[in-house]
């Protein structure tokens, strides 16, 4: 393969799909403005302007804290999930999950894409994904390990619950969600940082963060 993999369809992200973050939020879920725990999967879209190919740099807008997050995306084929890709799901830090996070999640460049789509059968099928651990390093320093065994909805359940109301088409991507750190936050990045997301069986997703240059 001579060029890096890129999404060909809509990329969906999943909120609150790790047990730790869900448990941290649980006491507040019935308070305003949420008023009840989420029933259906809470999804968002990463638009095409966010796509940053593996090895490329991501511009950091000035003045707002930006967090990185390791996640795995399921890539749909003609007959179900074809493979999986590592992603660095970048966002401006936001405390409220009430309104859709367009201005936090859809900033130019804010989805770092892993270099390859690994065929699902090489990962032991959907059930095999639960054995994966995603490692996140900033400038070579380990910051977070995310175990896919700790999902609220595992890959098969999430797919079924999403497909109940919308069809994932060939080329679409469903990211399984990202975990928070023990204190509820996500690792922050600064201009000059290089972030590497890795997992056994995958070439790592490496992206450098640079200050935004406004022409």
């Amino acid at each position: 393969m001579n060029i890096h993999w890129m999404p060909e369809g809509t990329v969906y992200g999943t909120l609150l799909n790790f047990q730790r973050e869900h448990a941290r939020w649980a006491p507040r879920m019935s308070e305003a403005p949420y008023k009840a725990p989420p029933q259906a999967p809470v999804l968002y879209i990463k638009t095409a302007n966010t796509f940053t190919a593996a090895g490329h740099s991501i511009a950091l807008p000035a003045g707002q804290p930006v967090a990185v997050a390791a996640t795995l995306g399921l890539v749909m084929g003609d007959t179900g999930v074809a493979g999986a890709v590592l992603f660095n799901d970048v966002a401006i830090v936001h405390e409220s999950y009430y309104r859709p996070p367009v201005k936090f999640q859809c900033v130019d460049g804010f989805l770092g894409i892993g270099p390859e789509c690994v065929p699902l059968q090489r990962l032991g099928g959907l059930d095999g994904l639960a054995g994966l651990q995603l490692e996140l390093r900033i400038n070579g320093v380990h910051r977070q390990t995310t175990a896919l065994a700790e999902l609220v909805r595992d890959a098969a359940t999430l797919l079924a619950d999403v497909n109940e109301f919308m069809t994932l088409r060939c080329g679409d991507v469903l990211m399984l969600g990202s975990d928070c750190l023990p204190d509820g936050s996500r690792p922050l990045v600064h201009a000059g940082d290089t972030v590497e997301i890795s997992a056994t069986g995958f070439k790592p997703a490496v992206h450098r963060f640079e200050p935004e240059v406004i022409a």
Binding site: L43, K103, C106, R169
Partner: protein, 259 residues
């Protein structure tokens, strides 16, 4: 000029409206005219390049009267959400009402089709980045509203639930997009009326707002919200969402069970 994308005689074609007919642009059949009722209408958009899925932005609460109707105060910045291209369908299509729901309503919206790459565009220049306009019907199923990234995708991103068309009208033919009458009829009865002049955030403001942080590309869409007057729709209802000078988008509600 009014552009359409249609399926006819075994292939998909670009066409334009000429004298009440569709004139094909396909090279082998160029100039051939077919009647409106001979074709299947697709969303009036060119396909995107393979690694650039279309960005579909939609607005909530962007008309003062609709914001009031829904018992929210008008937002101080645009309330935006996103849709996947898979939710789009064409003119004269069917939209599925799920079994057992209590409140499914249409939303007649002016849809902006971006014409060239838009990054940090100023409001005064914004309309130069518009290729044209079409009509969107941004259905919502309110039973599924949850207060997590609201309006959530289960309400707003369902298959068949975003009819678009019939025409993409060139921006040059729409001298004042901010003064167009909107109307929806259900089985011929007028249920929704408004004007694009009552948008809280007008089209130039929206393009400036979004392009400040996200680069928009040709073919991307902004659905600009709906005015007051949304009502429940049942299987069999024929919904016509119309915008002055842009088009009359016809859609029929169907049930999720096979007939």
């Amino acid at each position: 000029m009014k552009h359409a994308r249609i399926a006819w005689a075994g292939a998909v074609h670009d066409a334009v409206e000429v004298d009440g007919q569709l004139e094909l642009r396909t090279p082998a059949l160029k100039g051939r005219r077919v009647d409106f009722d001979e074709v299947v209408w697709l969303p009036p958009l060119a396909p995107n390049p393979p690694t650039r899925p279309r960005t579909v932005i939609a607005l909530g609460l962007n008309y003062a009267d609709h914001a009031k109707e829904l018992a929210f105060k008008a937002p101080d910045e645009p309330l935006a959400f996103l849709k996947g291209e898979a939710s789009l369908t064409g003119h004269n299509g069917f939209t599925v009402r799920p079994a057992g729901v209590q409140h499914m309503h249409y939303e007649c919206e002016l849809a902006v089709v971006i014409g060239r790459t838009a990054k940090r565009v100023k409001r005064a220049d914004a309309l130069d980045f518009v290729a044209g306009y079409t009509v969107a019907n941004d259905y919502a199923i309110r039973d599924y509203l949850e207060n997590w990234y609201r309006p959530n995708l289960r309400v707003k991103n369902r298959d068949t639930c975003t009819p678009l068309g019939p025409w993409r009208v060139d921006a040059a033919d729409v001298p004042d997009p901010m003064n167009l009458a909107l109307q929806t009829t259900v089985n011929g009865k007028v249920t929704q009326q408004g004007s694009t002049r009552d948008m809280i955030f007008d089209v130039p403001t929206l393009i400036e707002y979004f392009s400040a942080f996200m680069t928009l590309q040709p073919g991307d869409l902004i659905l600009t919200g709906t005015p007051d007057g949304v009502v429940d729709c049942q299987p069999g209802d024929v919904i016509v969402t119309s915008i002055e000078g842009i088009g009359d988008l016809v859609n029929t509600i169907t049930s999720s069970e096979p007939a």
